[in-house]
Amino acid sequence: MVSLLASAIGFMPFFLFGCTGEIITEKSGHLNLGIPGIICAGGAGGCLAVSIYMNSINGATPNYILLILISIIGAFLLAGLLGSIYAFLTVSLKCNQNISGLALTTFGTGLTQFVMKNFVDINDISTASTLFKLNLPFANSLGWFGEIFLSHGILVYIATAIAIITAYVLNKTKIGLHLRAVGENPAAADAVGIKVDRYKYLAILIGSGIAGLAGCFFILDYIQGGYDSYYIMESLGWLSIALVIFTLWKPNFAIVGSIIFGALYILPNANIVASITTQTAIKKVIELIPYIVTILVLLFISISGSKKAQPPASLGVNYFREER
């Protein structure tokens, strides 16, 4: 049980980054279905940055802090670039959000493989990923507490910090209030002088950048450099959009939700299941649980009709000032 929880938290950042990024985007009233593509692109950006850094130091021992910082910036930038395409299409050109997002997913997966196969050296990635996995030296001496909470790479803590900061900014600051106003009723926000387009652009860019870190985590920390991992990332990317609904658009809940989804993802291959059964069919059934849970939550939200659990009112609707 301890090892299951530990590995669930170990996989949490993937869902948490993706979910937090999508929450920020959705709070501005934009449903970004391009998140799977953006996550992939983030992975490619992180690897690209690592590769460039490793080349520049030419075989010397990489600096831990510098390496982590550079890969995070790389992931953030490439994911943000894709986010800016989406933002330009939906905010400035007012194109349909679903379609722009799906096109972005196609483009993002293509771009990822393209970058990974042409510009990234696999040896650099495996060297870098050992650093990403690095945890506190005394974690193992603290028993179960150490194993569950302290035995992870740095991205786990960064993800948690980002989710908490996002929750604080959204709920306690003026910027958060403005952003929520833009997502609920852009015309009213515009009327009181909030720069609607600027908020939307920033929310989409920052949200995409944060989501991109999920890809960075997946390639550099979790599977430590698979080239053909884009398909897994894409299908898990959809789950992180689903998680946004599961957590009712609250970054705080997202931390717990990510651990639950992480556990569900880990479960088919965990020791607990292996000790009960070895049949692959059972594993396949367990793999379905996250999707079924999401559907049940969707149904629950719509049947209960609770006001607190609703998406931002103008989600999916583009704002055109001259059309009132």
């Binding site: 299409l89 379609i99 293509g110 559907i295 969707l298 149904l299």
Partner: protein, 407 residues
């Protein structure tokens, strides 16, 4: 007037167009497609030293129509995508965002293969095929009608519901493969029974299905009461309720139709081709069809054009890759993504126009003077071509207008 200095006039603003001529619309789209393909060609030539932009376009063409087999394959893929687009058009026209065509296709295929697996050899072969067809239609319909019922009863968000059902469907396929294949290879061998019969060659059956379903849906949407109800529900559910249309019934009925078509596509992809199934059998056609349907503005006739274009690029890119010496299919997704972006962005230029303020206009005019001369010459050429093809489009426009007046 003195106050004018302090007033900040924005550089440009956006105005909604009242009306746009069909010729202008088509030229906007044509320019966008050409520019995006040109961009794709340039990217490919930069990446690979073996090719150039000219070669890019010739191998695009050769990939689709280079040999007789390739031409058949092109039309087979074209028909499949067209059929899925038709399934989506009926639901998109109702503003029901069915993103679950992938799952519906897979369930159709799974049902048909399950019939062949369990009943193959035990009952008469022709009876088995009938059972396969019926079960695939039923499975596709069930997979589409679940979100439809929830939407009708509780207004559940169908975008994410159908999206999740895609992954449950592929999970179910994996589950059944795990049950059926005991060796651990994870790949189901082609089954001996329940393969659909061939007409003339192995492609024609699928092509015929694509053509027939397109004709049926076009007629269904334009000339039947059901089709009219779909468009009213899509435009305004309140109006529909007011004039006595049972909105819930229309939603459920339409999604059953949509699911049946997807189910048959699944049947064709499994029993009609290799007679086995895998989780990626749908080949992402569900998502591709979403793009084609949207770009076609939910019009069955335009969908023929958009499906043709997308299949042309995908099939063509299969030829571009070896010509340019690229082994993997990464580059095709990249190029298709670029084309999508350009066509999506077109919707803006069709619906809105940009108006610059006086100051910017003056500066722009100065910059533009040499270009205007070139532009005029090109415009004369384009106008000449448009004059030639105008009669063809007038026919389509007339049909559209009469339909609008009917409403």
């Amino acid at each position: 007037m003195a106050n004018n200095k302090t007033i900040h006039e924005p550089l440009l603003h956006i105005v909604k167009r009242d009306n746009i001529s069909i010729a202008k619309k088509i030229s906007i789209y044509a320019i966008a497609i050409l520019v995006s393909l040109l961009l794709g060609g340039i990217i490919c030539s930069i990446v690979s030293p073996r090719g150039n932009v000219g070669k890019f376009f010739t191998s695009l063409y050769e990939g689709c129509f280079g040999t007789k087999r390739k031409t058949w394959l092109f039309f087979q893929e074209f028909s499949l995508l067209l059929a899925v687009s038709m399934a989506l058009i009926v639901s998109f026209k109702m503003k029901f965002w069915n993103l679950g065509a992938n799952g519906q296709i897979l369930m159709g295929g799974l049902a048909s293969i399950a019939c062949s697996y369990y009943l193959g050899g035990k009952i008469n072969e022709s009876l088995l095929i009938v059972l396969c067809v019926l079960s695939s239609m039923l499975a596709g319909a069930i997979w589409a009608v679940i979100p439809a019922i929830c939407k009708a009863l509780w207004n559940t968000n169908e975008t994410l519901f159908t999206l999740m059902l895609n992954y449950i469907a592929s999970g179910l396929v994996n589950l059944f493969i795990a049950i059926w294949v005991t060796g651990g290879s994870g790949i189901l061998n082609p089954l001996a029974y329940g393969k659909l019969p061939e007409i003339y060659n192995k492609y024609l059956l699928i092509v015929l299905f694509g053509i027939i379903i397109t004709i049926i849906i076009t007629i269904y949407l334009r000339y039947t009461k059901h089709g009219y109800e779909i468009s009213v529900v899509g435009d305004s559910p309140n109006t529909a309720r007011y004039i006595g249309i049972n909105v819930k019934k229309v939603i459920i009925r339409t999604l059953i139709l949509s699911g049946i078509i997807c189910g048959i596509v699944g049947l064709l992809l499994t029993s009609g081709m290799s007679n086995n199934i895998s989780a990626d059998k749908a080949g992402n056609r569900g998502f591709t069809a979403i793009m084609t349907t949207w770009l076609a503005n939910c019009n069955p006739l335009f969908a023929i054009a958009t499906c043709g274009l997308v299949v042309f690029i995908t099939k063509g890119m299969e030829m571009v890759r070896p010509t340019f010496g690229m082994l993997d299919d990464t580059i095709s997704n990249l190029v298709i993504g670029i084309v999508y972006f350009f066509i999506i962005a077109c919707a803006f230029f069709v619906q809105y126009k940009i108006v610059f303020n006086a100051k910017t206009t003056a500066i722009l005019n100065k910059i533009a003077t040499p270009f205007i001369w070139v532009y005029d010459k090109i415009k004369l050429g384009v106008l000449f071509i448009i004059e030639k093809i105008k009669p063809i489009f007038n026919k389509i426009v007339k049909k559209e207008n009469t339909e609008k007046e009917d409403k």
